[in-house]
């Protein structure tokens, strides 16, 4: 055991520490295996005090660190930094307090998204943000990336459901920002959301709880083309309807879902499908539902199908949520992109993205949270072939530039991490980047908290 390992072992116990090179290797990357960096050690604290002790020690030694929840991030946020230590929050998985009447709960950062909603089930409450990774991703990770999901169109992203948090600063100081009643003035807790572990480590979170909708109505409309499908989305929004979710899947996505364990019964002959869900009180559902159906038909829907029962609904959703993993059958590596375009340019964006990947001979199923104009092209390639890897990276870059050109952004919910770092100067003017750096320096003057992520280090 080297000196670092011995010191860390003295701060926590031996069981909370991994130092064998083989084990460290499994922490080289998050779900984006494009970037890899082996950490020097992995620590698995169980309490805020332990985190504080570890950070105080690391800061004395000038060792950088990276927080990791479940490692399902898609932009390299939890990829270790060179010479750094990984702090895994996975064992901080306790729900500490639940206040059903105030609709809030205090949880440790390692609690898994669906584990919380499952525990709240008897109370008729849930945590609203529903990333497709929700059976595994941690709430700390959701805060880190400001995660969203299909149902965020109506219910909002993680930011809208974070009332407060406990943040351990790189020196070891413990801050309590906000609380069960939220942050009255300057919303510092809100600042930490989406900061990708660059301001410190979140150990506890006050989350807002949402009552489970009384009913859901889910429909699946199939279209000849992506264009028809996107136009239907605009028509639905123009009609003043706020579905809780609106998801587009293109032809390739339909094909791979239908050939996987998540087979959902999407029509194989369609050029695109639109999955729409409405939630609310039963008596309020019929009018908007028929309006959605009408909008789809007006835009030339080939077929409109309603979920028959809860199982059917689950099946329709499982198919959608499985697209990314399912794409793994197409090639050894999968690069899930995340960009945003204004909703009325969605059809154009989807079309141009397809051109980008087609022209490079890359297979790329595409899905979109249509309500938010959030697109997730999924580029399939073989990372062992340098030429293909380069093509994939180029295509990714070009896709994000298209998003910017159309007036959108380079990330909807997966964050910047390492992946999009070099595009930050294209997205933000130098002044904004400078302010970001200053904000980071206030929390982390020595630059030890996940450095080199999210905010470019040097002046462009």
């Amino acid at each position: 055991m080297d000196a670092l390992a011995e010191d860390l072992a003295a701060l926590v116990n031996r069981e909370s520490l991994l130092t064998e090179p083989d084990y460290l290797m499994t922490y080289e990357c998050d779900s984006l295996s494009f970037f890899k960096q082996r950490p020097r050690a992995v620590v698995l604290p169980r309490t805020t005090e332990e985190v504080s002790r570890i950070l105080a020690y690391l800061s004395r030694k000038g060792i950088p660190f990276t927080a990791r929840g479940s490692g399902t991030g898609l932009s390299g946020g939890a990829t270790p930094v060179e010479g750094g230590v990984v702090i895994s929050l996975a064992r901080m998985d306790r729900i500490l307090e639940v206040h059903p009447r105030d609709r809030c709960a205090l949880v440790q950062a390692g609690v898994v998204n669906t584990a919380l909603s499952k525990a709240l089930e008897p109370l008729g409450l849930h945590f609203a943000p529903d990333p497709a990774s929700q059976p595994v991703c941690s709430l700390g990770g959701n805060v880190g990336e400001n995660a969203g999901g299909p149902h965020c169109f109506k219910h909002g992203m993680t930011l809208n459901h974070t009332l407060g948090l406990t943040l351990v600063l790189p020196g070891g100081e413990v801050l309590h920002l906000g609380g069960p009643c939220g942050e009255p003035d300057l919303d510092l807790a809100g600042l930490v959301v989406a900061s990708e572990g660059t301001l410190g480590i979140v150990t506890e979170i006050w989350v807002r709880l949402t009552p489970n909708p009384e009913t859901f109505r889910t429909l699946l409309a199939s279209f000849r083309s992506l264009e028809d499908c996107s136009r239907a989305v605009s028509r639905i929004v123009r009609a003043g309807i706020v579905p809780s979710a609106m998801e587009i899947l293109d032809k390739k996505s339909i094909e791979i879902v239908e050939a996987s364990v998540n087979k959902a019964g999407y029509p194989l002959e369609a050029g695109a499908v639109l999955l729409v869900e409405l939630d609310g009180r039963p008596e309020e559902m019929e009018r908007p539902l028929s309006a959605v159906e009408e909008a789809c038909r007006k835009e030339g829907a080939l077929e409109v199908e309603f979920a028959k029962d809860p199982e059917h609904r689950m099946k329709l959703w499982k198919g959608r949520k499985g697209v990314y993993g399912t794409a793994g059958r197409l090639a050894p590596d999968v690069y899930v992109m995340d960009g945003v375009v204004p909703r009325n340019r969605l059809a154009e964006a989807l079309h141009r993205i397809q051109e980008v990947t087609d022209s490079r001979g890359l297979v790329c199923p595409n899905i979109a949270h249509a309500g938010d104009g959030n697109v997730h092209p999924t580029i399939c390639y073989d990372g062992r072939d340098p030429e293909q890897a380069q093509k994939a990276e180029e295509a990714g870059r070009e896709i994000l530039r298209i998003c910017l050109e159309l007036g959108g952004t380079i990330t909807g919910e997966h964050g910047v991490g390492l992946e999009k770092l070099s595009l930050m100067p294209e997205m933000f003017p130098p002044g904004s980047l400078r302010v970001m750096r200053r904000v980071k320096a206030v929390f982390d003057p020595a630059g030890l908290a996940n450095p080199g992520k999210l905010i470019p280090l040097e002046e462009p």
Binding site: L18, Y23, M25, T26, S31, T72, V136, A259, G328, D382
Partner: protein, 431 residues
Amino acid sequence: MPGVEKRGVPRDLPAWFQQSLDCVHCGLCLLQCPTYQLFKVEPDSPRGRIYLARALAEGGTAPSVVLKEPLEHCLDCRACESVCPSGVGYHLVLEGARETVAGQVPPRFKDRLKLFFLDAILTRPRVLRLAFDLLAFWERTGLRKLTRLFLFGGLKRMESLLPPIPPKKERRLPPPRSAPGGKPRARAALFTGCVMTELFGRVHYDTLRLLLLHGVEVVVPQTQFCCGALSLHAGSRERAMELARLNIEAFPRNVDWIVFDSAGCGAMLKEYGRLFEGTPLEAEAKAFASKARDVTEVLVELGIETPPGRVELKVVYDDPCHLCHAQGIRSQPRKILESVPGVELVESADPERCCGAAGIYNIVQPEISERLLDKKVEEVRATGADAVATGNPGCMLQIRYGLATREGKPMEVFHPVEILARAFEDGRTRR
């Protein structure tokens, strides 16, 4: 995947390595994995193990005791496969990695003991019979009670895992051929396995009775062997193939089904085709595998007859991993139970999570096994059921042992077909 060519992957690499490339590192399997649930570390997760296996194949790491540990912690329960959207055949990756490591890391005493136990006893029907005769003698003479006083540690655990040895007549194989009354609807051969016969032979008789009642003619090859699963999982492919070959030879070709009542054996029989891929025996092995059926599958397919009797029992069904995850059989055993008048079927919190038996895992990895068993016992007791039903000998032993060694209300453990057979056997009301 039909119609989709995996691009850029050289075809000459081992199949298990190809499987590891299907993993996109999404992590959706993490929380399904019982060992990840316990330890919350990557190397003890499916994703981490695949990562290590891939590194092993690509030369990113070398076999070592360190690498071996997380591979040994794996229960091979295949819960990860049930949720993997990319359809990674995880068990193939595990087998491949274990074999690679086994070939290069000198076995420890424990491993050698395990292999000896498998090679010399479990997989040799005559030796196994003799061993159980001795055990029965040990028990009948009261020596078992006596030895219990002196046992400690691992041996004490093993002694309490072993249920009372059933009477000799239950441990005999059913007759070579039994015909139903009337013209048979189908013809089946019964696979009896190794431990199942010695400890749960009564289930074979119930399976036989139910098949006959449903109009199926049943043959029972009198010389058959262990399915080979335990050897394969221990990294000894050769021995597994030898056993598989012996079984393929022992079974008649002119049957519609090869019926088993042990989920673990069944999962293995269904894999025989793959085991012999690229060998002269491939076609025959595939034919054999395609006929393999769990008894609950067959009964549901035939249409379960309503039994004349009742069994008043509140039952919780627990899914054997090798039935639900490996074979995708979930509803059939429940249908069997629901078809019994008087039975109230209830569900526990997580019936698909491994109980910790996992072949001989409960003997070689006692600590993890006991922790998983704690959870299992707690969850089945919380249902308030009188009995647990599960269709695999390992799980039956493990759960019986778990209930006996943990405080709480006594519960019985059955194979689902036992309960159905009882309802046919007598119209009398139980309890």
